[in-house]
């Protein structure tokens, strides 16, 4: 049984239907990567899994199981026990998780004291150890600094340290390495991999960096306009992308090798989610769109190369 499984997740804010039927499953000890267009609903999906959406957001689930427990029935008090201890999150914007008036060492130690039986002193030491493992040099000194005294990449690592400090069984990491240079990034990813391997951590990794995806993830889900349009084993999806959006994403990657005049973006903008979309949301931008694509939503299909995709190109003609 999966560590986390969500079926048919919908999120509405105001008139906008922003997440429109998402299925996700995260296994113990494995990393599921979630990629997709800016604004496609990745962070909202992540926040919903921590019950941290803005209060005016409306949430619907077909199923929502974590570690065998039905999460739909938890109240806020129960949720406070789940967060940090069982499911932890690295927010896309590190400052949302940090208190500007406390040193980062204090903040990490406080989370540890709150959720474990460790003493203050042990907690402080654990905080320093974690910062060190995340490649922060002079960690004991850094732990005594305030957020404004740290660089962007150090803050990001402080937040990661805080998230993994209590040994959660699941980690949701929303763009955790965007401010890190590649050598430090390698360090951070190595720690996450180790936690997956040795402690069975289930990792939901949101990232736009396909290099990171390749290095980390067993499975990959690709999101567009509030739906998962393709998912499957990472290696397959990246080597033989089936959905036209995934293909366009790959074509847009700049490379260190060859020089190019201009990069290949995707023309057009994502759809207005305050309107009903009867067909495939990518149709207006898809180079292969057919008449039916605009009218009717294709079914999710398991295709020969082993991944699931939602696209009329893969529907067998009757």
């Amino acid at each position: 049984m999966s560590l986390l499984s969500v079926r048919d997740l919908h999120i509405h804010i105001g008139d906008n239907h922003l997440v429109r039927g998402v299925d996700l499953a995260v296994e113990r000890g494995e990393c599921l990567a979630l990629v997709g267009e800016s604004g496609s609903g990745k962070s909202l999906t992540a926040l919903s899994l921590m019950q941290l959406l803005p209060s005016h957001a409306r949430l619907e689930h077909g199923e929502w199981l974590f570690d065998g427990q039905d999460m739909r029935s938890l109240d806020e008090k129960a949720w406070r026990k789940v967060r940090a201890r069982r499911i932890a999150m690295v927010f896309q914007n590190p400052m949302t998780a940090l208190n500007p008036t406390m040193t980062i060492g204090q903040q990490i130690a406080e989370v540890i004291c709150l959720h474990t039986s460790m003493s203050r002193r042990e907690a402080r030491q654990r905080a320093i150890d974690l910062l060190e493992r995340l490649g922060i040099v002079n960690a004991p000194r850094r732990a005594k600094q305030y957020p404004f005294e740290l660089s962007g990449g150090m803050l990001q690592r402080a937040v990661i340290a805080m998230a993994v400090a209590c040994g959660p069984s699941m980690l949701i990491a929303d763009e955790p390495t965007t401010a890190l240079d590649v050598t430090v990034q390698a360090e951070v990813l190595a720690l996450l991999q180790e936690l997956c391997r040795d402690e069975g951590l289930g990792l939901l990794l949101i990232t736009h960096d396909l290099g990171v995806v390749e290095a980390m993830a067993k499975h990959l889900a690709v999101m567009y306009a509030g739906r998962i349009v393709e998912s499957g084993e990472c290696a397959r999806v990246l080597s033989q992308p089936a959905h036209p959006y995934t293909r366009a994403l790959q074509a847009a990657m700049p490379s260190l090798g060859e020089a190019r005049e201009s990069l290949q973006g995707i023309a057009g903008t994502p759809p207005d989610l305050s309107r009903q979309i009867p067909g495939c949301a990518f149709a207006p931008r898809c180079p292969q769109a057919m008449n039916i694509c605009v009218r009717e939503l294709p079914q999710t299909r398991l295709i020969e190369t082993g991944q699931c995709t939602e696209c009329w190109l893969w529907e067998k003609p009757e």
């Binding site: 267009e37 896309q92 060190e132 962007g152 590649v182 050598t183 390698a186 736009h208 700049p254 260190l256």
Partner: protein, 306 residues
Amino acid sequence: MSLLTIDQLSIRFGDVRAVDKVSLSVAEGEVLGLVGESGSGKSTLGRAVCGLESPAAGQIEIAGRPLPKRFTAATFRKQAALVQMVFQDAYSAMNPRMTLLESLCEPLRLQGKQRGREESLALDWLDRIGLPRRFATRYPHELSGGQRQRLGIARAFITEPKLVICDEPVSALDVSVQAQIINLLQQLQRDTGVAMVFIAHDLAVVRHLAERTAVMYHGRIVELGGRDLFASPRHPYTQALVAANPGAGRELLESKSLLPPAAEGCAYRRRCRFATEACRAGEPLLSDVGGQRLVACDRLAEIEKS
């Protein structure tokens, strides 16, 4: 002609040398890439150019004039017309109570540019950064991370400054939107002749945009070169950086990257696989090694012979 000249700039926070004796120049219309280790001083350097840090030593000149030591409302406005910044943390640089439309019109109004056309220009900019016009009435907290980052870019470029310090401006964008934005930056550079200092950790993006790139380690520039820098890195730190790029094969990964920079001699020596006793002595200076390349390593000749 050189638009930005930085000469022997040092910035300290207590005993931390955030920026140490950095000299750099950026020509009009040029894109200069700035890469380097997390905490090496890139943002601090960029902020100093915008007058947001006070240097311990050294000079910054923009368009031939030294940066004022102290800012008044008038000098600040003059400076803002010349230099803008895209902040690494887009959210904290925005007024949470302003709609997108207001926050795009604000810099224009402050500088008295495009009078009467502010709103239509602001809407144009929403198109250019790929945000639908219906977002004009939204607030920053109603945006996704990448949408916010794009708003920060629009705010910096909308007044057509001469120079923009872009601090990780595309780090939160998926590759397709990133491609659109990079193309937009290139087009702006061609059309308005804006110069940029482009700080980023994604080497492929930097290589694509920047004619020249400087590599920072522990407050210093250790290597500076043209586009060939990434194909033939010569400073040992740059070599480690290029080797750790995802997709470059993980075996090459530096195993000593946790060691702190050394206080005397070459700061990189503890991690450097070529370091010898000699590296403990002098601080290597950035020197011209031919082929438009500057490298700060005293052992370069010996390393490359072997």
